[in-house]
């Protein structure tokens, strides 16, 4: 791997990691509050991408970047207020099934409105240039912009959670909702707001990722499982854990693609160039599989290993 590929892979890893964290942070906050993984979280990300695409055509990309997440946030708040809150009394299983069903409903709705094929959601012209060159290769300005947006959102979220009274109310409500309400705070409204903000964060991720990833109906289903890996590996309910896990997955997925190493290569260094025939044809196939081909599986392997050896996650407190 050359120095240029290495530098760009690091940049892309951080970028992808931050994008994942935009989603995982909302999912984690919602989980801490309700004790339920929101299966529809990646669907809000998709709705963000589609709304971003649709609004960009009329009002331009930057207004869409503000408006689309707001709409997604309101949508999330409504889902909490009129859906989850009612289902809550039937226990966690009911809530899980509700969010699971909602993910399908949103996917179908998106297909009914925009169709099954991918949309032509391109990088806005204002950001369609090369930001800088490294070792003779250019890095797109839009990716730098994505990174800046993600970092700015987290700075804002962090300030809100640590420096304001609202942040205190949210943090206290995560562990002692009853006590907080008896001090005079409207906890159900806090929950609705957190759900709304979490959904809006997913919406922001959707708008900035839409032009880079492909805006299509399967984008939620393909991203959802990775989010669960992050939330579990980081430790359920832990924001710092989700941050670390997002970056780890960002690095794994970016670097795995760039590494073209296979079992054959490893044994090649040892002087064994052919697969031993006595192991059979299955092993002969595995002989040639490269890390790049295994890339998509690695996060799930990590999940399995984590659940076996450290089920509480990297930073999690729950067993």
């Amino acid at each position: 791997m050359g120095l240029d590929v290495l530098s760009f892979s690091i940049l892309n890893s951080v970028l992808y990691g931050m994008l994942l964290f935009l989603l995982a942070s909302g999912l984690t906050l919602i989980f801490s509050m309700m004790g339920v993984l929101n299966f529809a979280h990646a669907s809000f990300f998709m709705v963000g991408a589609y709304l971003g695409y649709e609004l960009s055509k009329d009002i331009g990309f930057f207004p869409a970047l503000v408006l689309a997440p707001l709409i997604v946030g309101v949508l999330g708040a409504l889902v909490e207020r009129y859906g989850l809150r009612r289902v809550h009394r039937f226990g966690h299983l009911g809530e899980l099934l509700f969010t699971f069903g909602l993910a399908f409903v949103i996917e179908e709705a998106v297909q009914m409105i925009w169709g099954r094929s991918s949309q032509n959601f391109g990088v806005p012209a204002a950001l369609d240039f090369t930001a800088f060159e490294l070792f003779g290769t250019g890095y797109p300005a839009f990716r730098v912009f994505m990174l800046v947006v993600a970092v700015a959102v987290f700075a804002g979220l962090w300030l809100l959670l640590t420096k304001t009274r609202v942040g205190l109310i949210v943090k206290a409500s995560l562990t002692h909702p009853e006590m907080v309400s008896m001090l005079g705070h409207n906890v159900p409204m806090v929950f609705m707001a957190v759900f709304g903000v979490g959904s809006a964060l997913a919406g922001i991720a959707g708008v900035i990722a839409g032009p880079v990833l492909v805006t299509q109906p399967s984008m939620a289903a393909s991203l959802g499982p990775i989010l669960f890996v992050i939330v579990v590996v980081g430790g359920l309910g832990s924001l710092s854990g989700a941050f670390i896990a997002s970056l780890i997955i960002g690095f794994i997925q970016t670097f795995a693609v760039a590494i073209d190493l296979s079992v054959r290569d490893v044994f090649g260094w040892l002087g064994v160039s052919e697969a031993p025939t006595f192991l059979g044809p299955v092993f002969t196939d595995a002989w040639g599989v490269s890390v790049a081909q295994l890339g998509p599986v690695i996060p799930y392997l990590l999940l399995v290993v984590m659940l076996i050896f450290r089920p509480a996650g990297l930073v999690g407190k729950r067993g």
């Binding site: 009274r165 205190l168 943090k171 206290a172 002692h176 008896m182 005079g184 705070h185």
Partner: protein
């Protein structure tokens, strides 16, 4: 500690009438009627399971109730806990429930109502309990049991309630801390705040209360002055002594 006389002309602040309450499907309170006047300390005595803590939770709107809870002229039954807190009732639960990950100061700030400080300022609270000032930036979870109890009471006070309901504040505390809590409750009442106290330690309750109620099986079985309860060996034997 002295025992001030009850001013019977004082207006009723909290008037509970025929209150029934349920925990899930179990029917816990059976027609409780009880009054707390302005500036009065009223103790609620009885054995574990008599329904005293449930009564406080019922007043706070945390469980299903029927009947009337009149507070300063409005009926609170059916209101949400945060609305009841805004109406002017503070609740200090038995479990203490400090927010362990937040600092002492942050815990206190969460007790403030949007209108800001009322009759108790943050500085005044710190003067009452200098230990809260010196440990203002400590995680509340790191405080001792007695300090946590003080913090919970102060966190409720800073929201400027007209009435505070305190559930077993002295449980598990050292004798010196128990006395300090008693003194604190009297100081609170002296500023015109009414107190409804659930207490297991008879001595404290009799010493600082203007009136006492005894509960058994979800009903009020005795109502009177501490002196009257002291004279009634029968009530004590049947409903209080183990």
């Amino acid at each position: 500690m002295s025992r001030p006389e009850t001013d019977i002309r004082a207006e009723t602040l909290l008037g509970i009438r025929d209150l029934e309450a349920w925990y899930g499907k179990s029917h816990i309170l059976h027609g409780v009627t009880l009054d707390v006047r302005r500036g009065e300390i009223v103790s609620l005595l009885g054995r574990n399971g008599a329904g005293r803590s449930t009564l406080l939770k019922a007043v706070m709107g945390a469980i299903r109730t029927t009947g009337r809870v009149d507070f300063a002229g409005t009926d609170l039954v059916g209101r949400k806990p945060h609305q009841i807190a805004h109406a002017g009732i503070g609740y200090v639960p038995e479990s203490r429930d400090v927010f362990p990950e937040l600092t002492v100061r942050e815990n206190l700030i969460l007790g403030l109502k949007p209108g800001g400080e009322g009759r108790w300022s943050l500085e005044e609270i710190y003067d009452l309990f200098p230990v809260l000032r010196t440990r203002a930036d400590t995680r509340a979870g790191a405080l001792s049991g007695g300090e946590q109890q003080m913090l919970t009471i102060c966190r409720t006070l800073i929201g400027d309630p007209e009435l505070i309901m305190v559930d077993e504040p002295t449980e598990g505390l050292a004798p010196k801390m128990v006395a300090a809590i008693g003194t604190l409750l009297e100081r609170i009442a002296a500023r015109g705040v009414s107190i409804l106290l659930v207490e297991q330690k008879l001595v404290i309750a009799l010493d600082i209360s203007h009136r006492v109620y005894v509960m058994g099986h979800g009903e009020i079985v005795f109502e009177g002055t501490p002196a009257a309860l002291m004279q009634s060996a029968e009530v004590r034997a049947e409903w209080l002594e183990v």
